[in-house]
């Protein structure tokens, strides 16, 4: 029963906060609401018996990425979002609304037809336990893990190239 209530509470917080994120005119509020949404997601991960994912969610998303967002918002110093929507005609907005409605119906339709099979967790300990993630990372997914280092290297080189001052 507790899990049931907790799930709906976290889910409601996540959805409402996400809705509010796109509804705000002040980007600062949006960013802070996004933290709320991420925090609620972390709660859902705990309910899924994935404590490690929950902690990383908080450290990386609610922590690092949000700080980045805040920095950008502050550096750009945009107090209020310019009303871009007014530049789109009424027709564009209506089309957008219809499209998102169709998409929502499509998702609802697809979800009602799903037959979800429980994915085996392979026994022994919760899926998200640090030990099991570590084992999987260094055995099954060892190559993917190593390949990620190349990905990060490319990203770093790219960031340096794009960010440094021109010296030609």
């Amino acid at each position: 029963m507790f899990e049931f209530i907790a799930f709906y509470a976290f889910a409601a917080i996540a959805i409402i906060a996400s809705l509010l994120v796109i509804g705000q005119r002040n980007p600062m509020y949006s960013v802070i609401l996004l933290i709320v949404s991420f925090g609620a997601l972390a709660g859902l991960y705990v309910l899924l018996d994935a404590p490690f994912t929950a902690v990383t969610q908080i450290i990386i998303y609610a922590g690092a990425i949000m700080v980045l967002f805040l920095f950008v918002v502050m550096l750009l110093n945009v107090p209020r979002e310019e009303a871009i929507a007014s530049r789109l005609g009424a027709r564009a907005r209506r089309t957008g609304a219809v499209l998102s409605l169709v998409f929502t119906l499509e998702i609802v339709w697809a979800l009602t037809r799903l037959s979800v099979m429980p994915v085996s967790s392979g026994g022994g300990g919760s899926i998200g336990s640090v030990a099991r993630i570590g084992t999987a990372l260094f055995t099954t997914h060892a190559f993917a893990f190593e390949a990620t280092s190349l990905l990060i290297l490319v990203a770093m080189v790219g960031a340096v190239v794009l960010a440094r001052k021109e010296h030609h």
Binding site: M117, V119, A144, A147, V154, V157, V161
Partner: protein, 475 residues
């Protein structure tokens, strides 16, 4: 130790990329270093390693499989890489691109591409896709002073990130069916299961991810802008190498793992293929910028390649591999020539810039003509044979209307390739900016590309047989 063999070609290219970075770090200001030569050495090494691995079907870490299919793509990628390095040696300095970073990113991109074509795990395919994409986004925006370059890179990056999300969603659904990201496990789950909604969602989302990377209609929007805004040498590289890698993974995922669902995805992909061929050709006719024109032409060529996947009998599959090689050489040759003629202040990418090229540079005009004719599908160039095999496979499989669209769009596309040729031969040399000199190495590389174009056009059987053998190894 055996476990390690399949990643050797990839590893060599990564090492070459690292060496390029180190060379840049130790470079004195103003010193010229032969970094391109370093890249060529690495790529030749990777090609040699690929040849040694031929027929061994080596597998590494349960994620990389150096079957003949992957090795065939590896060889195409090494060819593209070597030509790019040789052209870059002329171009990079002149255009004021940061040399060390340029070569390192290009080599890392090639490593990512090799990984993508050889990966047997969706997770690794995704990581490889991101490696090559990130590198190519940055390469697109490498000219920091150019507003068009920044716009191109930004568009490519935003849309690319969006398509990555689709691809990742597809992986999540595939995982939901099978409890694994390994292609073989997913394949077994799909073959045994009824192909429910989840499987169809996975197929659709993965198809969107791939269609974006190969720039198929309606996911092609970024292509003309990115290809036009990028430095020409980067356009040459990404229009060929990214396509080769993406089609490699596309073929592996759709023709082996997702083959049981063929009844579902063939109709969708045939419509996409038809639209891609038509739009690429029709809009291409209207362009006056060569890079933009060749961007639309590359969209059309993605349509022909998709047709090969749709008509996936044995000869159709082999035709995809063969066509990838043919297209890569011709497109790289044509765009390479545009890059070699460009300078920092003058890109030499307008149609009128080519006026009278025959009078001032007869050799270059001749080479350009041959590459363009190959793209258009004229006999006896390789392009003709490639298209012949693909359309023949489509007809054999009963996709008559697709084959008709393919032939008609090829005929129309000849119009815009010939516009360049007419401009080169039949117009007076415009008193435009002085065209830069071209090194003997670059000319030799172009000549080799031309010889290969003719070789594949006149004696294609040997390579087609190799393609046939290699495509069979993905099962």
């Amino acid at each position: 130790m055996i476990d390690f063999y399949a990643v050797i070609p990839l590893l060599i290219v990564v090492l070459a990329g690292g060496a390029a970075m180190l060379a840049e770090a130790f470079r004195q200001p103003g010193e010229r270093m032969p970094i391109a030569g370093l890249g060529v050495i690495g790529l030749v090494g990777a090609a040699a390693a690929s040849c040694f691995l031929w027929n061994t079907d080596a597998q590494s870490y349960g994620a990389i499989r150096a079957d003949n299919f992957a090795l065939f793509i590896n060889l195409i990628l090494c060819g593209i890489g070597i030509l790019t390095m040789i052209f870059s040696n002329d171009v990079v300095e002149r255009e004021g691109l940061p040399a060390g970073e340029y070569y390192a990113l290009t080599l890392f991109a090639i490593a990512g591409m090799m990984m993508m074509a050889a990966a047997t795990d969706l997770l690794v395919i995704f990581i490889a896709l991101e490696i090559l994409s990130l590198a190519v986004y940055v390469l697109t925006g490498l000219r920091r002073s150019s507003a068009a370059g920044a716009e191109a890179a930004f568009k490519y990056f935003l849309l690319g990130a969006f398509s990555s999300a689709f691809f990742l969603y597809g992986i999540a659904f595939a995982f939901a069916i099978s409890g694994s990201t390994r292609l073989d496990v997913i394949g077994t789950a799909i073959a045994s299961g009824p192909g429910g909604t989840l499987a169809l969602l996975a197929v659709g989302l993965l198809a969107i991810g791939f269609a974006f990377k190969v720039s198929a209609v309606p996911f092609h929007m970024w292509t003309p802008d990115a290809y036009e805004g990028a430095p020409t040498i980067v356009t040459a590289f990404m229009s060929t190498a990214v396509k080769a890698a993406a089609f490699g993974a596309f073929v592996r995922v759709f023709l082996s793992t997702l083959e049981p669902l063929q009844g579902h995805w063939v109709p969708v992909l045939s419509v996409i293929s038809a639209l891609t061929m038509i739009l690429g050709t029709v809009v291409g006719v209207l362009q006056s910028n060569i890079k933009r024109m060749l961007a639309y032409s590359s969209i059309a060529h993605a349509g022909y390649l998709l047709l090969g996947i749709v008509a996936a009998n044995a000869s159709g599959k082999a035709a995809v591999l063969f066509y990838l090689a043919v297209y890569a050489i011709a497109n790289l040759g044509a765009l390479g020539i545009v890059a070699l003629l460009g300078t920092a202040d003058h890109e030499h990418d307008q149609l009128r810039d080519f006026a009278g090229l025959w009078q001032s540079r007869p050799g270059l005009a001749g080479l350009m003509t041959i590459f363009l004719l190959s793209l258009g599908g004229f006999p006896p160039t390789a392009g003709f044979i490639g298209k012949w095999y693909i359309f023949a496979a489509a007809v054999q499989e009963g996709h008559y209307w697709l084959a008709i669209i393919g032939v008609l769009s090829s005929v129309v596309s000849v119009f815009f390739y010939l516009r360049i040729v007419v401009m080169m031969y039949m117009t007076e040399d415009a008193a435009g900016p002085v065209r830069p000199p071209i090194s003997a190495t670059a000319m030799a590389a172009l000549a080799v590309a031309m010889i290969v174009t003719f070789y594949l056009g006149i004696l294609p059987t040997r390579v087609i047989d190799l393609a046939l053998q290699s495509i069979q190894t993905i099962y």
